[in-house]
């Protein structure tokens, strides 16, 4: 009985210590835990920071690292994606996310969509939505300046109109890319499997046929949800239902 009380007191002490610590103390302590290989303790600290609304890309990035080191691949990918959602230009998070993805059991192949669409996929993924909006803004100001000059100076050369094609093409491309980034990064719901494996079924329940087995770290779009299941779409186009208990929504 004594030892139970002792354990209870120890836990209480740890909880009260974490509760009393400032955000900065928790942050530094988490880094020390991480360096010392105590990844679960580091995870605990980062989660407390997030619960305290100290929610930024760096916290999620560090949390992802700790999860990865603790062997929780699904949670690690979820954390890196959260970091990139908050700061799409966070290069370390991008690198670590790609590294974590390389450990996925399910390396879902994406069907090639043709040369033009592949180029479009590549170009529209180069920058964040903010980056494309800045490109759009620069091109728009440049096009406006050219147009105004051409209108005010009646005797200006006609080839100035042809020069307008360059910023106009950039405006169209940057607008489309920004719209795509905003749609995919913010408006689309994404999920990741956090358990060792989860059945992807034809319907929302175990009574439906199993289409595939998804493993920890598998990412997908969430198209819809029912009480206990998500309707998901994999990157290869496979659509099915998976239980909510196995999914972390990003």
């Amino acid at each position: 009985m004594k030892s139970v009380f002792g354990y209870f007191f120890l836990v209480l002490l740890m909880v009260s210590t974490v509760s009393a610590a400032t955000n900065e103390e928790l942050w530094k302590q988490a880094a020390e835990y991480y360096d010392g290989g105590q990844y679960q303790s580091a995870i605990e600290n980062y989660r407390v920071l997030i619960e305290r609304q100290f929610e930024n890309a760096q916290v999620y990035y560090n949390l992802g690292n700790a999860y990865f080191k603790a062997g929780e691949l699904g949670h690690a990918i979820w954390s890196f994606r959260k970091a990139l959602r908050l700061d799409p230009g966070f290069k370390q998070a991008k690198t670590s996310l790609e590294y974590a993805r390389s450990f996925n059991t399910d390396q879902v192949s994406i069907e090639r969509r043709g040369f033009i669409l592949d180029i479009w996929d590549f170009l529209s993924g180069l920058l964040s939505s903010n980056g494309y909006l800045i490109v759009l803004s620069i091109a728009w100001w440049l096009a406006a300046a050219l147009l105004i000059y051409k209108m005010i100076r009646l005797e200006s050369p006609s080839w100035l109109y042809y020069l307008l094609i360059v910023p106009l093409v950039i405006i169209i491309f940057a607008s489309a890319s920004a719209a795509r980034r905003i749609s995919e990064d913010r408006l689309t719901r994404w999920g990741v499997i956090s358990r060792e494996s989860a059945d992807i079924r034809e319907g929302p329940g175990v009574e439906f046929n199993r289409l595939e087995v998804g493993h920890e770290g598998l990412e997908f779009k969430i198209l819809n949800d029912r009480e206990n299941s998500f309707l998901i779409e994999l990157r290869n186009g496979l659509v099915g239902w998976v239980g909510k208990e196995a999914v972390l929504e990003i």
Partner: protein, 602 residues
């Protein structure tokens, strides 16, 4: 159906059938087409098609060969929700007759779809003399062996039996034990055998060889022996049972005698027993695993058993503070290399140390598990100075000598210079964003709790984009007005009327202030007349008061006042003795009112 429609239908049908035929494909290949009798040939079949399941092939008459299945694998891929599969099957064919033998078309059928391989011709020569002993080549030569030291079949004349043996029964913990499994087969099989390995407790397993085949004579009967070797590594001391594998076979009872007339000697009831499965088991082996000696055990011993060597290398010996050095520790040797834990580094307080991962390669050369494990570390000097990474030691137990060994790397000298780079997010600048595929370092600097600005939701961003739009609208207005001024004379005169009359009014005001009343009235007359001429696009030089009175475009209510004002100007201008001062002021004010009325009326 018209002729054109019929042709179109036929064309579509051909395309449909062609695409349906493409859905199921089969190909066959052999590793050699000229062999001796008894020399095995590997036949590989690849069946591919749409869907998750593929049909089994129908084999042609292969009575000129003994045929054994040597494995199959299936790959399933999903693209846009559509399944496609490929089934790889492998067979060993052992020719029995000299001459040209044919592997006929192998057919697969799936409903209406069918595919078949091209026939393969095999030239079978007289048997080639082979060296004795069990070679390790992939295509073993048939050999005849005496059963000395080998297990005997459970019953004299058994068609099949299996056995398993180990090379040592009293190994140390972690020492390799080589298990040999053999399947003795005197008759053909109706189907490929299914081997099920037991679940071992207390040992880890590495496969050494698969499906090594040879002939052996046991109790005067010739058997085809399939041999598989595995490496077992005990992980605890004491008695560890090695249970028997289970081999399920379906004997081809009618193929025993290889006699074409043997069929008539058979009991026809056996025809219905053909292909009945049988389960074969072997003896259980007990390993008496010895624990590692306590005497002489080094402090840093981490459980490695075998024979190892270690080396260390840094990718550079001089760096700036906060720049990483990649330190590689390479451990290689024989033993269960996969289970070797990371090599412990000595305390290096002058460095920040990050694990960059490890790689391992394992081989089974000469039936001994060996390999290399590389531990990669990023070490970063905290301050400038000359440092030495001391010798890194590693201890292992050598079972062949029965004692512990300790090996060490050479010390590595490193010089760190400079004041260090400013941290970006806690990690050295030159690591961030590098193309190296690895987990990044955590951010150690306390971050601000602020989120980056989302431009798509920023009012100021979109307001900033509105400015060029407003400027373009202004430029369009300007351009339109300028063009009209240039091209529309009437418009240009109307627009410029006020400005020009204003100039004359100013001139009149100056004349008034100088007391030049005659000139003042003249300027006032010109200003009003000029304004009317500009507004109505008339020639000012020929315009008279009478013409104004008779002009239809000037409204009646102003026409009289205008003519009267102009007459007053003329009268006052040419009146002898000049006009009174109050008349000048009255005319000046009256001109202003008149212009204002004209502005709205014409």
């Amino acid at each position: 159906m018209t002729g054109r429609n019929a042709a179109l239908f036929s064309l579509l049908s051909i395309f449909y059938l062609a695409s349906a035929a493409r859905a199921l494909e089969i190909s066959a290949s052999v590793d050699k087409q000229e062999v001796g009798v008894g020399d095995p040939i590997t036949l590989k079949l690849v069946i591919s098609g749409k869907g998750g399941t593929l049909p089994e092939p129908t084999m042609p008459d292969l009575s000129a060969f003994d045929i054994y299945s040597s494995g199959r694998s299936q790959n399933i891929s999903i693209v846009n929700g559509a399944f496609s599969s490929s089934l790889n099957m492998s067979y060993v064919l052992v020719p029995k007759k000299v001459g040209d033998q044919l592997i006929g078309p192998i057919v697969v059928r799936d409903g209406a779809n069918m595919a078949a391989t091209e026939p393969i011709k095999i030239k079978v020569n007289q048997p080639v003399a082979s060296p004795s002993g069990q070679g390790q080549g992939p295509t073993p030569q048939p050999q005849t062996k005496q059963p000395g030291g080998r297990p005997q079949p459970p019953d004299k004349g058994s068609d099949f039996f299996i056995d398993q043996v180990v090379d040592k029964t009293s190994p140390y913990v972690g020492e390799q034990v080589t298990l040999t499994f053999r399947f003795y087969q005197a008759v053909n099989l109706w189907d490929q055998p299914a081997l099920e390995w037991p679940k071992y407790n207390g040992v880890t397993v590495e496969d050494l060889t698969a499906n090594h085949r040879y002939y052996e004579v046991v109790r005067g009967r010739r058997y085809l022996v399939t041999e598989i070797k595995r490496a077992l590594f005990p992980i605890s001391s004491g008695k560890i049972p090695i249970d028997s594998p289970r081999l399920t076979i379906k004997p081809d009872d009618f193929g025993v005698s290889f006699d074409p007339f043997g069929f008539f000697d058979k009991d026809l009831r056996e025809l219905f027993k053909r292909g009945q499965p049988k389960v074969l088991t072997a003896n259980v082996i007990t390993l008496n695993v010895r624990s590692l000696p306590e005497s002489g055990k080094p402090d840093n011993f981490s459980g490695a058993v075998g024979r190892y060597s270690i080396s260390a290398a840094a990718d550079k010996d001089s760096v700036g503070v906060d720049e990483p050095i990649t330190l590689k520790l390479i451990l290689s040797g024989t033993g269960n290399i996969r289970s070797v834990p990371p090599v412990k580094l000595p305390d290096l307080p002058d460095f920040r140390i990050y694990d960059s991962g490890n790689t391992e390669s394992v081989s089974n050369t000469n039936l001994v598990i060996s390999g290399t494990k590389t531990f990669e570390l990023a070490i970063i000097p905290r301050t400038s100075g000359a440092y030495t990474i001391p010798a890194i030691t590693f201890s292992y137990f050598d079972p062949s000598k029965g004692k512990y060994q300790t090996i060490a790397t050479n010390p590595i000298r490193i010089t760190a210079t400079g004041e260090g780079l400013a941290d970006v997010g806690g990690a050295p600048k030159n690591i961030i964003g590098s193309a190296v595929q690895a987990l990044g370092y955590i951010v150690t600097d306390y971050p601000k709790n602020s989120r980056p600005v989302d431009l798509s939701r920023s009012f100021f961003f979109w307001f900033f984009q509105f400015i060029p739009a407003a400027a373009i609208i202004a430029a369009m207005v300007y351009r339109t007005r300028t063009a009209r001024l240039l091209n529309d004379r009437r418009y240009a005169r109307r627009v410029g009327a006020s400005r020009r009359s204003k100039v004359l009014f100013e001139k009149a005001a100056q004349l008034k202030s100088r007391g030049e009343t005659e000139s003042f009235y003249g300027a006032l007359y010109d200003a009003i007349l000029g304004y009317v001429a500009d507004r109505l696009d008339l020639e000012k030089s020929g315009l008279t008061i009478e013409q104004i009175r008779s002009n239809d475009t000037i409204p009646e209510n102003i026409k009289g006042d205008l003519a009267e004002f102009l007459e007053s100007c003329q009268n006052a201008r040419f009146a002898p003795g000049g006009a009174a001062a109050n008349h000048v002021d009255k005319m000046m004010a009256g001109a202003g009112e008149l212009i204002a009325r004209l502005e709205t009326e014409i």
